[in-house]
């Protein structure tokens, strides 16, 4: 044995092989897929399994993480009837429950603004913290705002690490494992749609929604940004977003922009429709309309 080890050829070969292997594995790691954005299917499966194991270990909950991909021929869009909305904020809390938003500190992906009917759509004079005994209040109307799922998302443009992108079905998503928390996207978003985990998010164990998606409502860590994903875990499985389901007055509409017979197309073609901050050329896929 000793002679073998002392044999210069043997050790040199061993060294060469080891160095080549180390070098190659470094290059492969370095050049291989790093973000969920570019992970091939097999790797994605593996990453998702790791996520599920980590949730089991850290939260002691069996979280199911889906990797459902965009459905071909589908572009999601949203419409909200301003003449119907009564400002009850049921959508806000349904969203919190569905999408595992932190309860302490509170994170709300939907923010509802109370506006003065005399002033019209005017955010400068709007109140997001209204709390009357009952809604709607006389002389007021309400505008819920969440991510507008822009066709030209400024947040995606500015992200320095490519941790956020627009999926083929139009949903703007975030890779929570790749985001460095620089918050440039929050400065760039004209709709205040992006929210940061300023501390470790906390949700009572029994309230965690275990039906999740890897780009959507799976529990997030401290120090990363999160936002509305049109309930990607639901909508890619053919269901409505939680806010659409919970709305007591039917103000919220959702569907496929590419389907000529969809309700969303009917609304856009027949109703008075507006988008927020049209002049910024973000081209939102979230439409506000007046049905009556």
């Amino acid at each position: 044995m000793e002679t073998e080890i002392d044999d210069p050829k043997f050790t040199r070969r061993m060294f060469n092989t080891g160095a080549t292997a180390a070098g190659l594995s470094f290059i492969m790691t370095a050049c291989g897929p790093k973000r969920l954005y570019e992970a091939p299917q097999a790797l994605l499966r593996q990453r998702i399994q790791e996520m599920e194991e980590q949730y089991k270990e850290n939260l002691d909950v069996n979280v199911k993480v889906s990797d459902a991909q965009p459905i071909p021929g589908v572009q999601f869009a949203y419409a909200l009837d301003l003449s119907r909305c009564i400002g009850c904020r049921r959508c806000v809390y349904a969203c919190v429950d569905e999408n595992n938003q932190s309860r302490d500190p509170q994170i709300h992906w939907i923010k509802v603004f109370s506006m003065d009917k005399e002033k019209g759509v005017d955010f400068t004079n709007a109140d997001p913290y209204y709390h009357p005994e009952t809604v709607p209040e006389d002389g007021h109307f309400y505008i819920p705002v969440a991510c507008q799922q822009c066709e030209n998302p400024p947040c995606v443009k500015v992200c320095p690490t490519g941790a956020t992108w627009k999926e083929k079905d139009g949903i703007v998503v975030i890779d929570y494992d790749w985001c460095i928390g620089c918050r440039y996207c929050m400065a760039a978003c004209p709709y205040g749609a992006r929210h940061f985990n300023w501390t470790t998010p906390s949700i009572p164990k029994e309230q965690i929604n275990t039906n999740t998606h890897y780009l959507g409502n799976r529990p997030r860590p401290q120090g990363v940004v999160e936002k509305c994903t049109f309930c990607i875990q639901r909508t890619r499985a053919g269901r409505y977003p939680a806010c659409v389901e919970v709305c007591p007055v039917g103000a919220r509409k959702f569907g496929n922009l590419l389907d000529r017979n969809s309700e969303i197309r009917y609304i856009i073609e027949h109703k008075r429709v507006l988008v927020l901050k049209e002049e910024l050329n973000t081209v939102p896929k979230f439409f506000y309309f007046y049905a009556t």
Partner: protein, 435 residues
């Protein structure tokens, strides 16, 4: 023959190593030398650094919730300081331009100190960004090939690139000059001059890119104004030299470092012009906002007048205006800038004025009210102040140690015992003493 070559290479490498280690040991010797006040100064910085590290480690554990930043105002004191310091770093070359372009010798002797300042300022910039991000453990996500840099789409990616390049260029030039001077040689002109000339457009570049970082965001009307980049450059050309002028006087008092009064007054004069431009651009912006009186006036109004019951920042806004006007007056009148007391008041006023307007005055009104009209009044917490003080202390410490090394070496008072073996025709000229 091959063997002989190999032998030579080994010998040369050993020689180089010997020279470098001599340089390193020399630096250590210089750093250790110092009187009582030097010791007290270092101890003071040490205390601030330890306090900063403790505050930051708390922030890493508990999250950025320990700062006053929230979703409404998602950037604050850290990014403000970052922006200000990019300006300081860029302005180091305001000295380089007259020195090399006009071959004006009195300033050329002090160019290296501007470069050392740039190195320290960029170090602080990078530290301010590091403490601001939510996941400092993931900073490598920015560095290809391990990470992914969203270049050229993200202006932040551009900033990462230009800041690091600028840092490298200054580091190379400064170490080269000092290394050669330490061994009693003049710096190699064909290395230094092109790099110094390159650093001029780069300095303008780092500040322009940093301005574009904000400028490009249509969501924030306060930043989305094409006057922003020129204004950044103008204010930077005030604040960087303001620090250097004070440093030069301190050095002149405590070391045998010499600088002609003429050079100091010339720099003060240049600062007056830069400050005039800065004030003019601010005036142009204020006129456009107030006269056209669109909904975009909100942010400017928040800074100068306050909105509703919210006017936390108003005193700072007017303090900045007052300080900048004061500095301009003191520097533009020749007889005033020649009086040392007034000159130093002018420097402090410039430094403070630009610090306010380029720091908090840029970031906070940019984000207040937020994009949906909500007003959250930001004011930094103790954690933020401690972390920031710690970073400034690191910067000052670095600058102190660098000066401690650079001054005696460039003055030719401290030399390495190792002789440079290779003769290259530029023997024995004390560094930076001109040609």
């Amino acid at each position: 023959m091959p063997h002989e070559n190999a032998g030579n290479t080994t010998q040369n490498t050993a020689e180089t190593l010997r020279l470098i280690s001599g340089f390193a040991r020399g630096r250590l010797t210089l750093i250790r030398r110092g009187n009582r006040s030097y010791g007290i100064w270092l101890a003071f910085l040490g205390v601030l650094i330890v306090s900063g590290i403790l505050a930051w480690s708390g922030q890493v554990r508990h999250g950025l919730g320990l700062t006053a930043m929230r979703d409404q105002v998602s950037w604050g004191f850290y990014i403000g300081n970052f922006t200000f310091l990019v300006g300081v770093a860029a302005a180091a070359v305001v000295l380089v331009i007259p020195a090399y372009v006009y071959d004006w010798k009195p300033i050329r002797e002090i160019v290296i100190y501007g470069e050392l300042l740039a190195i320290c300022a960029i170090t602080m910039c990078l530290m301010f960004v590091t403490v601001d991000i939510g996941r400092p453990d993931r900073f490598w996500h920015l560095i290809p090939p391990l990470g992914h840099l969203n270049f050229p789409s993200s202006i932040l990616a551009w900033d990462v690139v230009v800041l690091n390049l600028y840092f490298l260029v200054n580091l190379i030039v400064a170490s080269h000059i000092l290394y050669r001077a330490f061994h009693g040689k003049h710096y190699m002109k064909h290395v230094v001059v092109p790099l110094v000339l390159l650093s001029i457009p780069m300095a303008v570049g780092i500040h322009t890119v940093t301005a574009f970082l904000y400028n490009g965001l249509a969501a924030r009307p306060y930043w989305n104004s094409s006057i922003l980049a020129p204004q950044f450059i103008a204010s930077a050309f005030c604040s960087g030299p303001a620090i250097l002028l004070v440093v030069f006087q301190v050095l002149r008092k405590f070391t045998s470092f010499e600088i002609k009064d003429e050079a100091i007054h010339k720099i003060a004069e240049l600062m007056a012009y830069a400050m005039f431009l800065n004030l003019f651009l601010h005036g142009a912006e204020a006129f456009k906002e107030f006269y056209s009186n669109t909904e975009h006036l909100l942010y400017t109004r928040y800074w100068y007048l306050g909105l509703g019951g919210h006017h936390t920042l108003v005193p700072y806004a007017w303090a900045a205006v007052f300080l900048n006007v004061l500095a301009f007056a003191l520097f533009i009148v020749p007889s005033w800038r020649r009086r040392w007391v007034l000159l130093n008041i002018g420097c402090l006023a410039t430094y403070a004025g630009v610090y306010i307007e380029k720091g908090m005055g840029l970031i906070i009104p940019g984000l207040t009210p937020d994009t949906l009209g909500e007003i959250y009044e930001y004011y930094p917490t103790i954690t933020e102040l401690r972390v920031a003080a710690g970073i400034f202390a690191v910067g000052f410490l670095l600058f102190t140690l660098m000066l401690k090394v650079a001054v005696p070496i460039t003055l030719g008072e401290f030399r390495g015992k190792e002789k440079m073996a290779v003769a290259d025709g530029s023997a024995g000229v004390p560094a930076l003493a001109g040609h």
